[in-house]
Amino acid sequence: MSENKPNSALVIGGGVAGITAALDIASQGFKVYLVERNPSIGGVMAQIDKTFPTLDCSACILTPKLSEVSRHKNIEILTYSEVGSVTGSAGDFHVRVKRKARYVNEDVCTGCGDCAEECPVEVANEFDLNIGFRKAIYVPFPQATPNVYTVDKENCIDCGRCVKACQRNAIDLDMKDTTLEFHVGAIIIATGFQLYDITDYPRLGYGHYANVIHAMEFERLINAAGPTHGHLIRLGDGKTPKSIGFIQCVGARDVQKGVPYCSRVCCMYSIKNAVMALEHNTDGEVWVYYADIRAFGKGFEEFYEMAKKRFGVKFIRGRVAEVMEGKKTGNLVIRVEDTETAEVRLIEHDLIVISPGVVPPIGMDTMAKKMGIEQSDDGYIQAEHTFFGPTETKTPGVFVCGCAEGPKDIPDSVSAGSAAAMKATIVLSQGGT
Amino acid sequence: MAQASSCWGCFQSLIDIHMNLATVLPALEIKFWVCVVDYKLADLEGYPDKSIAVGLFEGVVRTEEDLHLLKTMRAKCQTLISFGSCSCFGGIPGLANFSDIEECLDVKFRENKTVSGGEVPSENVPAILPVIKPNHDYVDFDIFLPGCPPTSKLILTAVTALLKGEPIELEPHTVCHYCDREKKDTPVEKILRPFDGNADPDRCLLEQGYICVGSATWGLCEGLCVNMGSTCRGCYGPPPPIMQDQGANAMSMLGTYAPLPPEEIKEQVKDPLGLFNRFTYATSHLGSIRIKREEAKKK
């Protein structure tokens, strides 16, 4: 390791890919700055209930990793923070990180929750996809790391009751944003993804019909730590849906909507959701409307078989044309061409779950342009070369992993995280050359 | 020195210290030793409690008289030694627990093939207990000295230490430690009866297929039998801690060691009880279940 060159790395994004990369770099003895714009690391995986193809509880397999990151002596977690600017080159980047004021002193807060008890303001909880509520002073989820509260200043009414309630005097409503500057030898972009905005498909009824929801909302409903404590109910009337329809390829494989590519994960997450729906209601009926079933990974095809044979999930090959609502019942009717029988069918369901495709996260364009990192046509970070540099970007010393490079499931994101970490540590050990 | 139901072999072994008797005997004041000195049971009962320094108790408690003797010895002796495998573990007589007492009495008396009109004697004979419980279930012992019999050398060591007032130091090694045979690590192909074939005198007997339980046996004998051409039969009971189940240990060892399927082992081992728990049936897991069953019958 070169004396003058920094032997630390920056990982942008605290989802499962970023966490994997951070741990792999730190385990080699290098220091890692892990920057995450949300109040806690964990990313989308923290919101998921169960993962495919093993039906592992997502939080259960993720939390040990969050713990490991939190107590790793080589990792400094900077949550509620964003990368402001990056200058320099491989081996020596000068990074400026803007640390948003959370109005709570991280070193003092123990996550006891006394403040939230006192807070009079309730707002929609974005972690629960706005289905549930949280207070204006909150932790996003119980295993949040770091386990400290954050004040949502936009909705805070400055009443000060939380300040009084806090026995450790951890709350400072006058806190200001700060900037942190440091040097790193390598950078890994692991900024994840967001779901396609399916209000863009008015014919499918999302946004107008109460009982049309999307996959992540479904995920929060079936999650025991979610807004309904794991009870899968219709948000319109609280009834338990017996018949559920899953609509695939919405916001993916759609040239007209500017998302021609395959989102890679939706087939599998829908099969998983379908199985979960039947586990929650063994009398239920689940139908999946698809174009192709892309169960390509290790154990995926076998999981698909199990969903069909053991659970009795029904699969209809056809892209749904429209969803109509029965005003009295709130039930939905799907119009779809069953291409295997060549008949147009009208099928009624109590609940419709749309599986949105995956798109680059909010702020990706801004960040890429600010850092001068080349993007692909789809808006993701462009990998240097499919075979020679699948986790390298066009900028030396900057690497990419996880969904920031393109839609991926958890195993592929984890492998990519480790791969990017390997590349980063080569740069660090060679001092950037 | 008390004898319950036994063969007296342990005491014979003691006498077998031979010329060393000349050193030992004068240091002893023998207060009770039926067959050797002329004290009666009444004399023993008459002594004050804890007035005898050392007592050796040989044999199993088979009759009510044995039980009375045991309790009396415990009361009168300061240090009570459980002498020999019968006293420690139940020994060969302990195997009788495997059958119902009435069955035993049938075979011995009522349906004895060489007696006609056989009856169970009841006059001038102490009542028989329905099951043999290990002696230490009745009283606490201070020292256990197993063996069938304990070798004269072992007895001399123990007695010498006692006379000096020192603790008896016994090596914890199993019989294998003293065995001179070579281990080649070849798998057991077939389980042999002791009379099958010709055993190679230089190779481990177990490896050749003869079931030797030396690895599960305390080697206080210093490998007497195995170095003389015979398999170890386990007469010293298990190595310390000595109340573990010797038979279970030997069986699990054989099951692991011999690459034979369980059905074959079961078929080839003709007498598992006599092989694995020959001397320790009464203190084995299965043996204690038997004892509990018998006692439950009484209630």
Partner: protein
């Protein structure tokens, strides 16, 4: 083993785990019951023990109540034992004085409909654990050093990538390849996707770089013939397959990247009945000029058909149930590329799995070029017949058209499965790796640890782990390299102290434990007379088989001694301890 003579002071922490446990088990009453157990000084319940709040709680209470043993009743130890062990260590409690009770997988998740009985069971388990905790002892934390050298088994694209990454990172590599040249399957292909590069163009630079690198030692035409030792200190014997010469090497870590074999689908679609029926792999191995020439008579191919899922996705057929992942995309690219020079090109499929970056795009391109995609039903595969004159007739039911179709192609390309190489079982045994249903190696955890295995120090990468394409194999390779370097960079690694130990005085040298140990961790110490058994702690997994088999009770299981286990049994059977008189040895 140091003895812990102090009086046990046990703290019990019962976790709600949100609703996961508390939804079924009355955790509050469990914590209350624990308060009265012998040696318990503090007992409480908490929402999420694994969260920061829970961990801080443990630390605070250890200090406040001077606890020297901690029991956490929560999820499976497989989940959070490492977490809690670290927590107690931070407040100076030896990690082996911590015990975890599984109230989730063992209680709330399997007895969901019987909350009352589940709570009773939870109480029983906590009582047992508290009894055990009182008997636990300090164990030393041991480390072994890790040699700064990796062995990479398999010189295909994944093996080459791993080797280079590790070498560039500054560690030595021994690369073993059974073939006479490097490059694996990719080297054989003239045709890749999604780019237009040939296999040689992709693998060439990698091979050159590997050959040039000073830190990489290559053994071609060789296989690993013996593998012994333990993490950080493996003893390997590499055997040259022609000369039979053996080389012994000591290495710290291993990456198994043994790749795959392209399935030869004999019995499917009249494969071998005509030279014009080939596999996609065979097509990809042909020089470009040859691809559109009929193997039978050298005439140009004007009509071609690709058939997907050959030997893949067959439920119930062991080793052929998995999706081979790369073929739909490879087929789409091949069909699109070759379309210009043929009159008709068909792709018969079950599903089109062009999932990756750029893949859907050339699926679309193929269609735009009028490659005809025709779906056949899962339960009625196409029928291929070869007539006496060599004419190939293929008939199938097109699901979308709803009719039987017939085609007479010049060339049939079967997208056959990616299966493990024929010596996979041998490799698995050599490195103590397990295999999943698809025949490839099992990763340590299919989601969060796809590149490590249950054999500490051995990683897997590329197709050895599961069917995948070359780009994915490269990512795996770099990832596995990161795992290997992670072990080597620190120079040493901790090993578990929950291992067995032979009391040499009692050992009968009977070799039973040596035979019994599934991990080959016990050897005979020849320096003693007679030789006694000796446990190599780094290899021991603490399974207890040796202790159970030992006829002389010479083996003690640290952290699972007879006393520690029997006390749990007694705690379960007797709710109050009864003192007994008489009769102990």
């Amino acid at each position: 083993m140091s003895d812990t003579k102090e009086e046990p002071r046990i703290g019990v922490f019962v976790c709600h785990c949100g609703h996961n446990i508390a939804g079924v088990v009355d955790v509050v009453s469990v914590a209350e019951m624990a308060r009265d157990l012998p040696n318990v000084v503090f007992s409480t319940d908490e929402m999420f023990m694994c969260s920061d709040a829970g961990q801080v709680l443990i630390k605070e209470k250890v200090k406040e109540h001077n606890l020297n043993r901690v029991v956490v009743a929560s999820c499976s130890p497989r989940m959070h034992e490492p977490t809690f062990r670290r927590v107690v260590e931070e407040v100076d409690v030896n990690r082996y004085l911590f015990d975890q009770v599984n109230l989730r997988e063992h209680v709330s998740w399997c007895h969901t409909r019987e909350p009352v009985k589940a709570t009773e069971k939870a109480k029983d388990l906590v009582r047992m654990s508290v009894a055990r905790a009182a008997k636990l002892e300090n164990l030393p934390i041991k480390t072994v050093n890790v040699l700064p050298k990796t062995m990479v088994v398999g010189g295909g694209i994944a093996g080459l990538r791993s080797s280079l990454d590790i070498a560039e990172r500054g560690f030595d590599v021994v690369l073993v390849e059974k073939d006479t040249q490097l490059g694996g399957n990719v080297a054989k292909w003239t045709h890749l996707f999604p780019s237009d590069e040939s296999g040689a163009q992709v693998i060439g630079p990698l091979i050159a770089a590997v050959r040039k690198h000073k830190r990489i030692k290559i053994h071609l035409n060789s296989k690993v013939s013996d593998f012994d030792g333990y993490i950080g200190n493996f003893e390997v014997t590499i055997k040259n397959l022609s000369s039979e010469k053996e080389t012994k090497v000591n290495i710290g870590t291993v990456i198994v990247s043994t790749g795959f074999e392209a399935f030869k689908p004999v019995g499917y679609y009249s494969y071998t009945k005509s030279p014009n029926i080939i596999t996609l792999a065979e097509l990809q191995e042909m020089p470009p000029a040859q691809m559109l020439i009929r193997p039978s008579d050298g005439k140009p191919v004007k009509k071609m058909v690709f058939i997907g899922c050959v030997g893949s996705r067959e439920p119930g057929k062991i080793g052929h149930e998995h999706c081979s992942r790369h073929c739909c995309s490879a087929t789409a690219k091949a069909a699109a590329d070759l379309r210009d020079d043929v009159d008709e090109s068909l792709v018969l499929y079950q599903d089109i799995r062009t999932y990756g970056k750029g893949h859907e795009e050339f699926h679309r391109l193929a269609r735009q070029k009028h490659v005809i995609y025709s779906k056949f039903p899962t339960d009625a595969h196409p029928n291929v017949e070869v007539a006496a004159d060599g004419d190939i007739r293929i008939r199938w039911f097109d699901v979308l058209a709803g009719s039987e179709l017939e085609f007479h192609p010049d060339l049939v390309v079967l997208a056959s499965a990616m299966i493990p190489p024929d010596d996979m079982a041998e490799t698995a045994k050599m490195f103590s790796l397990t295999r999943s249903g698809d025949g490839f190696f099992n990763p340590e955890h299919i989601k969060l640890a796809p590149l490590t295995t249950h054999t500490a120090g051995v990683m897997i990468a590329g197709a050895a782990q599961a069917a995948k394409n070359a780009s994915e194999a490269v990512i795996d390779a770099s990832g596995a390299a990161a795992k290997a370097v992670g072990l080597m960079a620190q120079g040493e690694v901790e090993i578990e102290s929950t291992v067995s130990h032979v009391i040499s005085d009692l050992c009968s040298s009977c070799h039973t434990c040596v035979t019994a140990c599934p991990y080959g961790a016990i050897i005979m110490d020849e320096e003693q007379t007679p030789p006694v058994a000796f446990v190599q702690e780094a290899k021991c997994k603490g399974c207890g088989t040796c202790a159970a088999a030992c006829p002389s009770s010479a083996i003690v299981m640290y952290h699972s001694t007879d006393e520690q286990i029997l006390t749990m049994v007694e705690a379960y059977l007797c709710t109050t301890p009864e003192p007994e008189g008489g009769g102990s040895a």
